[in-house]
Symmetry: C2
Subunit: 248 residues, 2 copies
């Protein structure tokens, strides 16, 4: 068996999420079905993260194992040809050691969240950003975000469906900046709880609108209570950007 690391880009809109689901299409199914069609083998994909329905990826990492001899470039081309017209693409593919695991070897994950801060409905960005009509103060959002950086109990920012054993996570970075009418929020951590980024973004948006005082984000964190959550941002604006691994 040869283990291949895949870099995946996908539009999350038509999928029920990254992980295989019995009730609808998933990124995992798209990749596994393509690999099966090419090799005749039952292939299982493991990914660095489990994104929700509607969440996109620019550089998700995953791995698959294949018995049939395959060159990495040819495998990438064959997967891409087979996955059409599903909006999933393999943008890089390489052979990795058998102990390299897309999920368990991963030591860092980063996301970006895009808020289109404008009154007009979205057209070209529809499904690719969260439209917020009220003017956002990105400076206040950035200052408020710093209360979340560090090692904390993120129970407030955790989905009730989260399967993680502990709500303790270390958030390495949470930066907010503006580019024109787009407010961009970048988050980095070793790992995140389910809905953590969207929950943090939702509360920061309340600060940006002036509905929450800057200090209320830290208070919501300290409450360790899902009821203290202000708002869970929609999936449309969320992109899994990058998974980081130790140098080989």
């Amino acid at each position: 068996m040869t283990r291949f690391a895949l870099t995946l880009e996908f539009d999350g809109a038509p999928f029920m999420g990254l992980q295989r689901q019995s009730h609808g299409p998933s990124v995992q199914q798209s990749v596994e079905d393509a690999a099966h069609a090419i090799t005749g083998e039952d292939v299982i994909m493991h990914a660095a993260g489990r994104t929700d329905s509607g969440v996109h990826a620019l550089g998700m990492r995953a791995h698959i194992e294949i018995a049939k001899p395959f060159d990495a470039f040819r495998l990438m081309e064959a997967l891409n040809a087979r996955m059409r017209p599903d909006p999933v693409a393999v943008t890089a593919c390489e052979v990795v050691p058998d102990d390299w695991h897309a999920r368990f070897s991963c030591i860092g994950r980063s996301y970006i969240y895009r808020i289109a801060n404008r009154r007009a409905p979205l057209t070209l960005e529809l499904g690719k950003a969260w439209q917020v009509s009220r003017p956002l103060d990105e400076g206040a959002m950035h200052r408020a975000a710093q209360a979340l950086v560090g090692r904390h109990d993120f129970t407030t920012f955790r989905s009730v469906h989260c399967q993680a054993q502990s709500p303790l996570k270390t958030l390495d970075r949470l930066d907010v900046r503006r580019e024109g009418d787009m407010v961009l929020i970048e988050a980095e951590a070793r790992s995140f709880l389910h809905h953590q980024v969207r929950s943090m973004v939702g509360c920061l948006a309340l600060v940006g609108m002036g509905r929450w005082d800057e200090s209320e984000v830290g208070k919501a964190l300290a409450a360790k209570d899902r009821q203290a959550l202000g708002l869970n941002a929609p999936p449309d604006g969320l992109y899994f950007v990058r998974a980081i691994y130790p140098e080989a």
Copy 2:
């Protein structure tokens, strides 16, 4: 009657083009139907340009006339509410003098064309860029493009359906640059022939791939013959960026 100038943003994919068509949806119909629903009046929209099916706009300009008293901001909000879920948005609206004409007063138009220069199929950019797998030399494309700048007979780069009286046009700017795997082509002129930008981009892409020598673009221009055209680029990558008017 009050004349309103509209700035329009739209995703061209679901439309037969900007101009009203008997055989399918158009941007013009979307705006006119919304204006009729709001005012009860038969409203006709005039636009700075006539984009084809699949061509997008970031800042198309247009005007409409309405008898019912309306504040510009309220009109914009009402149009946007009515046009949902069509991917057209009014991003600005202002009252203009009765002799201001979106098409005839316009003294400059600019387009951008986006080429995704990568092997992997498009996912998030699907329908929003032209995917070209072969590596493009953007420097060669930029140099070749300069042969087209200035006043020329653009017959080679003109659709057989073009309704302009003369094939003589002055191209003010045609710049090619790369941002990561995106090759961007910016074109500016007082006005363009039908398919002119897509035809120029198609030939520049041939240069970028090395299938045409840099000098062949100038030769194709000099031929003044549609048969000399190398390639017409698809609409997906084309965006109407901006219409320019004399200072009031």
